[in-house]
Amino acid sequence: MTSYGRRRAGLSRRTVALALPSALLGCAAPHRGTGRPGDSVVLTLLSHYASGALRTALQGPVDEWNATHDRVKVRTTAVEFSDLLTTFMVRQAAGRGADILQPYCLWTGQLVRAGVLRPAPSGHAGEIRRGYGTAAAGSASFGGRVYGYPTEAQTYALYYNRRLLREAGVGTPPRTWRELEETARRTTRRDRYGNSLVQGFGLSTYDDSTTVGLTLALLSAAGGRFVTADGRSTALDSPAGRAVLGLQRRLVDAGASDPGVNVYQAFPSGQVAMVVGAGWWTDSLKSVMGAAYRDVGVAPLPVPEPGDRPATLATGFLLGVNTACEHPAEAWEFLRWLNAEKVPVRDARVTRMSALQVSVGSLTGRADDMRALLGRGGDPNLRPFLDALAYAVPEPNGPGAQQAKSLLRKNIEALWTGQQSVAESLRAVRRQVDQEVARSW
């Protein structure tokens, strides 16, 4: 036997040994059906729509499908977003992966490299490319192939508190970075002990969205990008990157931003004048703020100089089919029915997914659907997010994207808290991200 042959045999034995627990677990897997009369195919769908309005919103169309289709039934399971990737991993390794998955687009490359996501068949891929905006379709693609139907699409814009701006003598939200800094300084207020009463511009180390999301949105507005076009190395160490981190550092140094404050609590409490956030927040703000929500306005993300082209960041989720799914054609057909088939809703013809997302205060990447639904009494604060779908840049989603994002976040926090200068942060991001991302490819 050649050494290659021996190696293959060794790997094979090991694979068998390792796969044994999975096989045992697989024996206990529930019956998924055959599709013959009286034995419906049961497709499982795993998402993060685990509670409240989101769960109900998804269950509606799924119940409709189950009531109108005898051969294929869909069963939903959900976990909290924080447990979603872990659940994908554990269930997949145990041979119990769901047939249809709803991952965060950031994980697309990671899931594709791990052999979890099945590429969309050409008919579906064409439908996705035609029906969705560039950012949404790009978020659901990796290496030039589409891996699922984009569901909720999030773009970033500037939230501002009209009352706080008015009290500071500012009539309109800022359109440029110079105006942003000026407005931030004018709206900032502190007590005599240095406690922040009003943070002019919300920089918060609270989560990925408030650190990395905000930074990448501003980076897009400055014409920069986090990683190169092929996704294999970082491109942050650029004039645009320096401009973004420089802006943030100036805001912190001027006392207009207080990174230790949780903006998700402080903004609804009227303690933050402006903050960059994603569209999903509007619905949450409405329920938290009640009548005070009338003070909340949303404007397009300010650009560095007057006349610069608008740009921002787009993130989102996709619905894709597991490579381990035994009935992929049926799964893709269900996804087409949910995401591409138009049905009458409020005098408009939109997809079920578009109606679902708007019902929970979110958007999809189907601009025509969104205009039809929001034009009929929707929240005007969603419009800047909708407009941004046309020019937003998708979040990088290569194999090491999650790790790159975490490393970027650490260095942004180090910059905001004075541990690093702008130049040091840029150098550290480049060195750390390049090293780790290279391992992922």
């Binding site: 002990y193 240095g194 990174p259 790790q403 975490s406 976040r409 650490k410 004075g418 090293q435 391992r439």
Partner: protein, 319 residues
Amino acid sequence: MVNTLAPKAPAPRPLGRRPASPAVEGRARHRRQSVVAYLFLTPALLFFAVFLILPLGFALLLSLSRWTGFDLGDIDPVGLDNFAALFADGATFLTPVLTNTLLFALGTVALALAGSVLVATCVDRLRFQGLWRTLYFLPIVTTVVAVGNVWKYMYEPGGLVNGVLNALGFGSVAFLADPDTALPSVIVVHAWASLGSAILILTAGLKSIPESYYEAAALDGAGPATVFRKITLPLLRPSLLFVCVTQFLTGLQSFALISVMTKGGPGDATAVAALEMYRRAFSYGDWGTASAAAFVLFAVVLAVTLAQLWLFRRKGEDA
């Protein structure tokens, strides 16, 4: 029921057969007893094999492989690459992650040990000792998530701690947002939360010191400080060793409290090894370096524990 472990009475000599020598009989009895003992141990050994040896072996395999966490047939051997990646130029595992872990453990041990010795000595002289021990033990039975969140709010700019500082005329401190104060702030909480168990062990240790030593010291005119230094501390050494070793081990493996309070931030200021392992495995799908990091941490834990044992034993011999 027959007690197979009990020594048997000598059997009557069978007619026409040569009697077995006492040595042969002893060996046979010993063998029977061993078989029975192993039979009784089998459930426990099986438990350890399934839940300790197998995961340990799997972790060792992963530390020498690349695996994304999704498909067991997709494990790709890479030799020592994962260990090399942890200590490569620009990698953050050695500094600040491992450094923070050691500082966290050292700080926790120092604070918890000093605090528990002080409190245990005071409690030992009070009435209603059970009540005091119960009060100090309460943080142990409270979930880490609750403890972490309560302290997080207390540390915030408008929180209780800053409120007290403001009332005393001092400015506010961004305890968890400032990289210089974040790690010490979390250490204080961890030490506070682990004080209860240390106090329990030390009060038990104090109770075991014979009263006659204190009486003799009083007759010789020794002061409280001398009594504490010359009698209490030396005789408390076994309890102190236990507290020291267990607190250090807990500190080195700490995860939940930091995850709740700071998530390792700001920057890398409170990033510790267990949190880094979790992130690498479950967030980045890099089970290889996560497992390699686990073995590095295991080596550190083993080295530190052996060093502590050696140090205490040497002091014991000197004493």
